[in-house]
C-alpha cells in the first residue's frame, strides 16, 4: 500500500523514478523498504532507479536509512541507482556509508538449526568437563609444588585471604546459624509438644546442626560470599591482563592465585562450620529456655548426651568438602572468564550456581555413604 510520501513514475522506459515528498523524519513514520522492492519485483524490465526529492520539506537519518536499505536491495538485484536527485547532504551521507563498508566484516555465525545446537551444546559440555579436569590436575601439581616449597608462595597474601574468608564472615555466619537453630527448635516443638517430649528439641537441634545443617548453611553463605568474590577477582585480573603478566614472568597463575585461595577456604570452612554449630545450638537453647519453657540445665545435658563426637567429625568433613568445592568452582570460573564486564558477571553467577548445586549433591552423597556405613 503506497503511502503519500512515495510516488512512482514509469514515464521513461526501464527507469523507475521515485518521487519523495513531505517530511521524512524518524519521529513521523518512515515507509517500509518493501514498498519499493515490491514495485521493483512487479516490473522485471526496470534496470535503473532515479530519485526526485524536490518536494521533501524536512529530512533526517530516517530518510537516509530508508535509502540505504533501498540501495542495498537494488545492488543485490543488479539495478543501477542514480542518486543525483537527492538532497546534497543525503548523497554525502550515503557516500560515506559506502566508503566505510569497503572492508568486509567477518561473517558472524548465523543461528544454528535445532539439532546442530544440541550437538554443539554436547561438545561444549565435553570441552568444559575436560578443561575442569585439566584444571584439577593443574591444581594437584601446583599443590604438590607448594608443599615441597618449589612454588612461589606469599604467606602475607595467604593470611589476607584467610582473614577475608574466615574472620570477616563471622557476622553473617552467626546471624544465619542462630536463626537456623531457632527455626529447628520451633519446628521440633510443634510435633514434640503432642507427645510431651519437648526436651528432645535439644537432640534435634544439636544433631541437625552439628551433623549437617551447620556445614550446609556455612557452605551456602560462603558460596555467595567468597566463591563469588574469587570468581570476580580472578575474572577481573584476567580482563586486566594481570594473569598474562604473571605468565610472562614465568609464574604459574594457579600456584600464585588459586592454591592459596583453596588452602585458605579448606582451612577456614571447617572452622566456620564449628562456629556455626555452636551458634545454632545457642539459638535453639535460647528459644527452648526462653520461649518454650524447657529447663535450661536439662536442655544442655540432653544436648551433651545426644551430640556424639562422630556427628562432629561428619559435620567437619562436610565443611572440608564444601570448602574445596567453593574454592575450586570460584577459581575455575574466574580463570576461564571471558575478557569483558559481561564475562566477569557470568563467571560470578556460574561460580555461585556451580558451588551451591555441588554442595547439595555432595551433601546427598555424604549422607548416603554415612547411611550405608551406619555412622
Amino acid at each position: 500500500m503506497p503511502t503519500d510520501k512515495i510516488n512512482f513514475d514509469y514515464s521513461t522506459p526501464k527507469i523507475l523514478q521515485i518521487k519523495l515528498t513531505g517530511a521524512w523524519l524518524m519521529g513521523s513514520g518512515i515507509p517500509a523498504i518493501s514498498e519499493i522492492t515490491s514495485q521493483i519485483s512487479s516490473r522485471a524490465d526496470i534496470s535503473q532507479i532515479t530519485f526526485s526529492a524536490s518536494q521533501i520539506s524536512k529530512w533526517d537519518s530516517g530518510l537516509v536509512s530508508f535509502l540505504h536499505g533501498v540501495i542495498k536491495e537494488c545492488r543485490r538485484k543488479n539495478i543501477k541507482v542514480e542518486k543525483k536527485g537527492l538532497p546534497e547532504g543525503v548523497c554525502k551521507l550515503l557516500n560515506l556509508t559506502e566508503k566505510n563498508t569497503e572492508r568486509i566484516a567477518p561473517q558472524k555465525t548465523e543461528e544454528e538449526p535445532f539439532f546442530q545446537r544440541i550437538g554443539s551444546g554436547v561438545l561444549r559440555f565435553k570441552e568444559s568437563v575436560l578443561s575442569l579436569l585439566g584444571f584439577l590436575g593443574e591444581i594437584a601439581v601446583s599443590f604438590h609444588r607448594t608443599i615441597t616449597g618449589k612454588a612461589y608462595f606469599r604467606f602475607n597474601d595467604f593470611m589476607l585471604i584467610v582473614q577475608r574468608c574466615g574472620a570477616d564472615a563471622l557476622g553473617l555466619v552467626s546471624l544465619i546459624s542462630v536463626l537456623v537453630g531457632v527455626i529447628l527448635a520451633f519446628i521440633g516443638a510443634i510435633q514434640l509438644r503432642i507427645f510431651g517430649a519437648q526436651i528432645y528439641i535439644a537432640d534435634i537441634v544439636g544433631i541437625a546442626m552439628v551433623r549437617v545443617m551447620g556445614a550446609v548453611m556455612t557452605g551456602i553463605i560462603m558460596s555467595g560470599r567468597t566463591g563469588a568474590s574469587f570468581a570476580a577477582e580472578l575474572g577481573i585480573m584476567q580482563t586486566n591482563e594481570e594473569i598474562d603478566a604473571l605468565k610472562t614472568l614465568g609464574v604459574n597463575p594457579v600456584e600464585f592465585l588459586v592454591v592459596p585461595r583453596i588452602l585458605a577456604l579448606v582451612v577456614m570452612l571447617p572452622l566456620l562450620t564449628l562456629y556455626a554449630d555452636f551458634m545454632g545450638i545457642l539459638g535453639g537453647y535460647v528459644i527452648s529456655a526462653g520461649v518454650l519453657g524447657i529447663n535450661p540445665v536439662e536442655y544442655l545435658n540432653h544436648t551433651q548426651s545426644a551430640v556424639k563426637l562422630g556427628n562432629l567429625w561428619i559435620g567437619l568433613m562436610h565443611g572440608f568438602v564444601f570448602g574445596l568445592i567453593i574454592a575450586i568452582s570460584g577459581c575455575f570460573r574466574g580463570m576461564n572468564c571471558e575478557r569483558s564486564a559481561n564475562g566477569v558477571g557470568e563467571a560470578t553467577t556460574s561460580a555461585v550456581v556451580t558451588s551451591i548445586t555441588s554442595i547439595v549433591v555432595a551433601t546427598a552423597i555424604i549422607t548416603f555413604i554415612c547411611q550405608v556405613l551406619g555412622v
Partner: protein, 256 residues
Amino acid sequence: MKQIPESVIEVRNLNLSYDDYVVMNNLNFRILKGDIFIIMGASGCGKSTLLKSLIGLKAPAKGEVFYGGKNFWREDESVQKDLMRRFGVLYQSGALWSSLTIGENIALPLELYSGLSASQIQDVVELKLALVGLSGYSQFYPSEISGGMRKRAGLARAIALDPDIIFFDEPSAGLDPVNARMLDDLILQLRDTLGATFVVVTHELASIFAIGSNSVFLDANSKTIAAEGSPKYLLANSSNPCVIEFLTRGEKQGGE
C-alpha cells in the same frame, strides 16, 4: 640452520588464527639487537595477537618464533620459562597486580629471580621507580594512581630484571600527548642505557616516527606484512598505497 648473529628475534612463516578465523598469514621478519621495532597496522588487524605469540601467551597456528636460535614454541616448558624471564612486557593497561602496592609489583620479579636480599630489592625498586619518575609512590596501590602513572609503573616492573627484550602493547594509548612523548623519550633513553631491544605495538604516528628504528606494517586485507623497514624510509619510499595512507593519516599525498 643458518644463524644471523645480530638477530634477537626471528619470525618464520608465522600464521595466527582464532579457531577458524585467520588473523595473519605467512609472517617473516627479524628483529636486531638494539632495535626499536614497531609493529604497526590499523586497529583490529592482529597486532596484539602477534605480540601474544611473541611473548609466549598464544601458540601460533603454524610457523616458528626464534629467540637467539631457540625455537620458542618447540621447546620444553622449562626452556620457554627461561626465555620468558628475559622478556619485560608492558601491557596496554599496565596490568599491575591490583592486590599489591606499586613497590611490591616491582619487587615480585626480583624476589622470584634475582636472589637479592630484601633490603637490596627495596633499593632496586626505588631505582626503577626513580627511572620512570615515580619516586615515592612505592606504597601506593594501582587503584590510587592515574592511568599514565600506572603505565610508567608497569614499565618499571617490565624493566625490573634488566630484560634483553622489552615488549610494549600500545604504550601511548590513553595517554595525553605530553605524557605519551615522555614515555617515548623514556624508551629511547632506556634503549641507550640498558642496551635492550624494544618491540612496540602501536598505531600512534608520532611515536612511530619518534622512536622506530625498524618496523613491519600488518595489512588486514591481505592478512600479512605489507611493508618492512624504518618508518621514515617507508614514508619516503613505500609504493604500497595502504602504507602511505596509514603513515600520512589518509591525507592525500602532496596535500596539506
